[in-house]
Amino acid sequence: MTSTIEQPDLDRQRSFGRRLTALTSDRPWVWAYLGSVLMWIAICVINGRLSFGVVTAVFALAPFLVLAGIGQMFVITLGGGSIDLTVSNVITLTAFAAAEISAAANGNVALGILAVVVIGVLVGGLNAGVILGLKVPPIVATLAAGLILQSAVNVIAGLGTSTPSPALADFTQSRVLGISVLGAVCVAVAVLAGIFLRRSITGRRMQAFGQNAIAARLSGVSRGRVVLIAYLISGVLAAIAGALLGAFSGPNVALGDPYQLNSIAVVVLGGTLIAGGRSNVAGIWGAGLFLLLLNTLLNSLNVGVAAQDIVKGILIILVLSVMSGRRER
């Protein structure tokens, strides 16, 4: 009976191998960048001129989404329904925490960032601990952890007005030759994440675990270790993204909300397999730019926020339908 249940999985593995040879390894992320270029052309057509300002503006806005997306990607890499639904709560919480702690420490940015990293580590550890210790699906574990974080947000938001550290706010908005410094830093982070995923032993173990958990465990990959590391990375990156976003646009209780779907969307649209085992960092940048350009396009068409939600929701389901369809063949 067990063997019959796993039959479809084996089929998928086989066609996955075929797809590997059929496509070059770099191909999945090309679509996200192609989509971005299309969006930019559409924006230029609507504005009636070449608007390079849109590109630099979007480049400055993308880092928060990209950081959260990279964290989410490491979790999704593990496969088997691995997902981190605390990202949105972590972002809101750390936006407040960074502001509060920096303010309390007379504008000490480093202390604020350190505290935020600790929060990220605690949340990631909690997520991994619940998944491993209580043997619950990641989705339930991270939903429960999200409830606890929501309370933490309520409490910290009730403390009064939080003004983010001016130094951090300046950093998130600083530009050199019109190009966002934070954007450039996040490109570097993405490159490092890519190297870690592809070249480091831990990164490769994560991918191996996502491709075939049983085979990976038989060859000595510890499930506990890869799960813990993935959720720690996701927690810390979301925490840093939250601190930066809080400094960029000011903390508020709904700040992180869009990131629950969007952090998953950039991973999926960027060509990472939602089933795990095949991840792509370059695609996250492409998909981040694409989503923000799509936002800009819909805004310049005067499409309301509500309709934008509908478009994004349908787009993600459609892209997944098409991508999974290709995998099936």
């Binding site: 043997k135 339930v140 952890a145 009730g158 509908i310 099936e328």
Partner: protein, 326 residues
Amino acid sequence: MTTFIHTDTTAKSAKQGVLSRFGISGSDMLAPGALIALVLVCCIVNPNVLTVFGLTLVLSSAIPLALASLAQMYVVLVGDIDLGNGAAIGLVTTIVATLLIPHPVVAIIALAAVIALYALSGLLVQTRRIPAIIVTLGASFVWLGIALIVLPSPGGTVPHWLVLSATTVIPGIPYPILIAAAIALVGWLISMRTRYGAVIRAGGASPDAVGRAGWSMTRVRMTAYGLAGFFIVAAGLFVAGATGSGDAQSSSDYTLLAVASVVLGGGRFSGGRATPIGTVCGALAVSVAGSMLALIGVPSDYQTGMQGLILLAVLAGRVITDRKSA
């Protein structure tokens, strides 16, 4: 198909006797137990809870949650999870509050469309092999977007009969308990007394066996999601009746609380195991837990967090009971 029912009931009745006839297994006793314990705590804090009025008040929020939890349960039964649950309920309340009085036919078509879209998302999950998490999370944004277009800010008007049916006070017996029992009965009839109820349970436990028995998993999943859509519409009607208005966003908490109710009611995320009676008891326990937190004076800011901790405690408790029985 009949074989599933037979093996199910015979195996269980050997162990648990009478309880199994109602689809209750050992781990399902967790929810009723927790419910009784929580009601007792409430009574100790405030003896008025045990009056008809007190119980009506404490349990009134449980009815929409019970319906939302049944919706979640049918998705969990086929091994999936619905993250759009709360947003869809919000959408239903906006449809009810804006369309039901001026254009009843349009409103009914719109509500039927919600059920149809739910079945459609089941079709997508099955035929395209996309994880349900992503489909339902994507769908939740579609629901929210539509709801915000239908009714941009909370308000609207709800028919008087709907308000009455959600807030009636019957002397002598707490109305919510009556409704909860009726909901559990409907769920039980669907799960245990219809063909598709049995096939859905079997499909969650072993999709291949269902396929070999000649049933289409696509239809099974669509039916399960369609049932979820049906109970979501029912939940939305109750929320709109109880609050007297529509609100696109205030129902979002139902997603998490419904998952908690299913877990507390003994549901397993591997599929095939979740009972309507357990789930409804779970929903009652979750809402009484909320009332209890308010009664013992936990500040509202901490209440969601406490609910998260209670959910984790239940999950931990289950690990321990599982180890003992294994």
